[in-house]
Amino acid sequence: MIFHLVYFLTAGLAASEPELLDRAVQGDKDAFGEIVRMYEKRVFRVARRMCNCDDDAWDITQEAFIKAMKAMGSFNTEYRFFTWMYRIVTNTAINLTRSRNRRAEVEFDEGYGGGGLTATADTTIQESNRDLLVGAVQKAVERLTPALRSVFVLRVDQELSYEEIAETLDIATGTVMSRLNRARSSVKTFVVSELGGEL
């Protein structure tokens, strides 16, 4: 009881993110530890979405934080930390994917809406089909090239704006748009082919 009371009292006094970042840049490991706690779930989620393997995702997450810790001294606090962190984790995931060369990268038809895609009027997805749909989308995402996958994950899963994605991946906003279109097109094409037009 007393422990919880103290916890909530001290939680209210917790340092803000900018303050933690300033301390972490100065080499304060405790501050960096707090930052890890703040971002670990999001970082892991991006990693997991990028590689679709729990073990790899944990490795990517750990490696991303280690890289961040090593580079923390050079981080400019005027920039947004999360885009910096997202860049590290996406690059780490891409590198891991490439190095393992698990599968040939398949890029689907880049024409948006091609390949017999027909959005049905009845877009209500049956509960029984939900798992199938999720599995098909995940499989489609895995088959995207790393460049398309990272844009897709950051937009669709993390719901970053185009500008934030551009900053994270260090690419132009126009490139984000084109990659996102291609990624969405590829995913949809694959899902439709997998589910037989049930979508």
Partner: protein, 370 residues
């Protein structure tokens, strides 16, 4: 309004289009079932995928954070400080109290080294035990060195009658009294603190230049000067030692190491081509003499061993001794893995020795020559 392209529709759905354009698209979608269905289907598909996410347990993140800790620089870990402090304490303990198994202290080694200087004179530089006269030395197979020793005689102009004596030695300061044969004056040298320690340490480590000095080639004499430089530094290090005759004392130390070694064992003569064959006749028992071997086991236990316990190890040390002619005070430290792989700064690469049945693999071997 004409149907916007799908890219524009998705930008609108993503909230990337604002203002009047966004309003007009909204108006169109409310009236166009095709565009509306397209956007709805896309958003719904993505929403289902996004929501199909199960967070890992907090314990998994806790595990990940624990795995992150090795990423912290080693010097900032508490364990590193414990290890560093322990290593320093052990090192200082060995240096100060027990340099060798016989319990020789640093001050005793300093005295020994200094007494070697005292014994240095031209007559004492030989490749046979120090008591032997020059004729005996030459007769013993060292003809090739005759000319070289004459060179040394010229160079090592020390007094034969008044050897330097130790005025005072301590762990902190080292006071020496050196007689200069030319001026016949006795000079007192005081080496303080680090200078004293460096003096002893460098003198002990100079066995190779000393051997080259014994061989006596012109190049070796050049090396002698290098060695002198090593002992007394570039001049800057020892400027505080005033009234110090670098030249005489410097050569004294070099000669001291050489003479000390030659007095310790006949093995050194095997380094000359003329007497190389003689070395092959030295029995293992003789070769094993002149040094002590101690093992630091994985458990941390330190034990001294004899040749009969691990003959291969002693044979290997003999080989090193033959190749390098270590002088007294020289300390070798190397590792032996459980597979018998030997590694260390003084050990040739790819050296493998047999491990005894008693199983002393994964140990550190310390050899002290005396």
């Amino acid at each position: 309004m004409i149907c916007p392209d799908k890219s524009t529709l998705m930008m609108w759905a993503d909230g990337e289009i604002t203002g009047s354009e966004a309003n007009s698209i909204s108006d169109h979608i409310s009236q166009c079932s095709t565009c509306s269905d397209f956007v709805s289907a896309q958003k719904q598909m993505e929403s289902v995928w996004r929501k199909a996410w199960i967070h890992p347990a907090d314990a998994d993140f806790e595990t990940m954070r624990r795995r992150l800790k090795p990423g912290i620089p080693w010097w900032q870990t508490r364990r590193a400080w414990y290890i560093a402090a322990t290593v320093c304490a052990v090192y200082l303990g060995i240096r100060i109290f027990h340099v060798d198994g016989a319990g020789t202290s640093l001050s005793e080694i300093a005295a020994e080294e200094t007494s070697v200087i005292a014994r240095i004179s031209a007559d004492e530089v030989s490749c046979v035990p120090e008591a032997a006269p020059m004729e005996e030395m030459i007769a013993g197979g060292c003809e090739g060195m005759e000319q070289e020793i004459e060179i040394l005689q010229d160079e090592l102009a020390f007094s034969q009658s008044d050897p330097p004596e130790i005025v005072e030695e301590s762990l902190v300061d080292l006071s020496l009294s050196v007689s200069d044969s030319e001026s016949a004056e006795e000079e007192e040298i005081l080496l303080e603190g680090d200078y004293a320690a460096e003096y002893v340490e460098t003198a002990v480590s100079l066995d190779v230049p000393a051997m080259e000095c014994l061989r006596g080639s012109n190049a070796a004499l050049d090396n002698t000067e290098d060695a002198e430089e090593k002992i007394w530094g570039s001049g800057e290090s020892f400027q505080s030692v005033s009234d110090f005759s670098t030249e005489s004392a410097g050569f004294g130390v070099i000669g001291g190491s050489a003479g000390h070694y030659s007095a310790a064992s006949g093995v050194c003569s095997t380094q000359t081509e003329d007497t190389a064959e003689a070395a092959a006749d030295i029995s293992p028992a003789q070769q094993g003499e002149g040094y002590s071997v101690s093992l630091t086991l994985e458990s941390g236990e330190v034990i001294e061993i004899q040749r009969d316990v691990w003959d291969a190890l002693f044979s290997f040390i003999d080989l090193l001794q033959h190749q390098n002619c270590y002088s007294a005070g020289k300390q070798l430290v190397f590792m032996v893995s459980s597979a018998g792989i030997v590694s260390g700064p003084d050990v040739p690469d790819s050296t493998v020795i047999d491990i005894p049945e008693t199983g002393y693999g994964n140990c550190a071997v310390t050899v002290l020559f005396h």
